[in-house]
Amino acid sequence: MDRSEILSKITELMRDVFDEDDLVVTDETEAEDVADWDSANHVRLIVAIEEVFKIQFTTDEITAPENTGQLVDLVASKLKG
């Protein structure tokens, strides 16, 4: 799965988790840019990503990404194994 496919899937998940059908997501999108992206919904997003990509984040990885691009990179690295 290439990087753009991962971003596309994460965008779908973010729209669902944050209840924003029209949410525009780029590599630079961060929590500050999304009204519902707080710590509780971040956990929901993480678990949704784990389920879709069949991966599991470590405790440190959950809070490490500072924007969506870093989250995409993290998923890509875990998929490569």
Binding site: E32, D38, S39, A40, V43, R44, V47, E50, T63
Partner: protein, 313 residues
């Protein structure tokens, strides 16, 4: 933070929290965005008490705020993660909670300090506190003998002591450490009325001698810590006099390290209360900060339930 203008004690606490934890600002803004003046005034009174209590402990308010940050980030977040992954609470028994948490003094200090601040800072907790302060306590009759089960940080007993109709106060907890902490807080806050604090296992309390029942019983955020909340509430109900008033609060979908019993919805809680021989006078459900009730239930996010109940003759 324009919402806090006119509420100086909230402003002091929030300023200190954000000094310890700048990234918490967005949550705080959402939590305070739509509070009524009554809720704000209640929280301001609570924050005044927290500040007064903090002045008497080593580390003061900054330490309490650091504990709040640590516990929220490192403990609550991990429990939320477990809950979202598995659909259940991580701790399965009281014995497990006791051995992992209740015997750990540092953990418990951080926990109790986090809960004290969350009562003012988390919208659902603030709404519950407001209803307790402005609806439940003022509705008590003169000469009320009030008991709290699990007084923990002591603020519910403190505000009950400040309520004129309440003339006698009792607090029961199974933990000597918890009772000591409650005593310290009440002393720090200068409570004048005598408060009978007692180490007491609810399940060993039996039935009250005739005439020794309480007019009012408070059991806030306790049932979710127990393996068998039905048995516990039945034991508590035995100590309420007929037509007395009980204040019960417990959450739905609220993962904390020592939460054992998962209530999936509000109806489960209401059914349990009725099954214990209590009649519900009023109940309210308060979703977590910044969410509607519908959204919180859909997303399996915490909802606090507050109930005023009575026991019929």
């Amino acid at each position: 933070m324009s919402e806090m203008a006119g509420y100086p004690h909230i402003h002091t606490v929030v300023t200190e929290v954000l000094r310890a934890w700048p990234a918490h600002e967005k949550y705080i803004e959402r939590s305070f965005a739509s509070r009524t003046d009554r809720v704000m005034r209640a929280c301001d009174e609570l924050c005044a008490a927290i500040i007064r209590m903090a002045d008497t402990v080593e580390g003061g308010l900054p330490l309490i705020c650091e504990d709040y940050k640590y516990f929220s980030e490192n403990v609550v977040l991990m429990e939320q993660l477990y809950f979202q992954r598995h659909g259940e609470y991580s701790t399965k028994s009281f014995e497990e909670a006791n051995s992992k948490y209740y015997s750990n003094a540092l953990f418990m200090r951080r926990y109790v300090n986090c809960l004290a601040l969350s009562t003012a800072l988390w919208e659902n907790h603030a709404n519950v506190f407001d209803a307790y302060l402005n609806e439940y306590l003022p509705g008590l009759e003169p000469g009320t003998r009030l008991m709290e089960i699990g007084p923990a940080h002591g603020f519910a007993l403190y505000f009950a002591a400040a309520c004129e109709p309440v003339t006698a106060l009792t607090g029961w907890d199974v933990s000597p450490t918890a009772i000591d902490h409650t005593r310290q807080v009440l002393n720090a806050l200068g409570v004048k009325k005598h408060v009978n604090l007692k180490v007491q296992d609810l399940f060993e309390a039996g039935s009250p001698p005739p005439g020794e029942e309480f007019d009012a019983i408070v059991i806030g955020e306790v049932l979710e810590h127990l393996e068998d909340p039905r048995r516990a509430l039945k034991s508590v109900a035995a100590w309420l006099r007929p037509n007395g008033r009980m204040w019960i609060t417990t959450p739905v979908n609220s993962p904390f390290p020592d939460h054992i019993y998962l209530f999936h919805n509000i109806e489960e809680i209401l059914d349990l209360v009725r099954e214990c021989g209590l009649e519900i006078i009023k109940h309210e459900a308060y979703p977590m900060s910044g969410m509607t009730l519908e959204k919180a239930m859909k997303r399996k996010q915490p909802v606090s339930c507050a109930i005023t109940a009575t026991k019929l003759n």
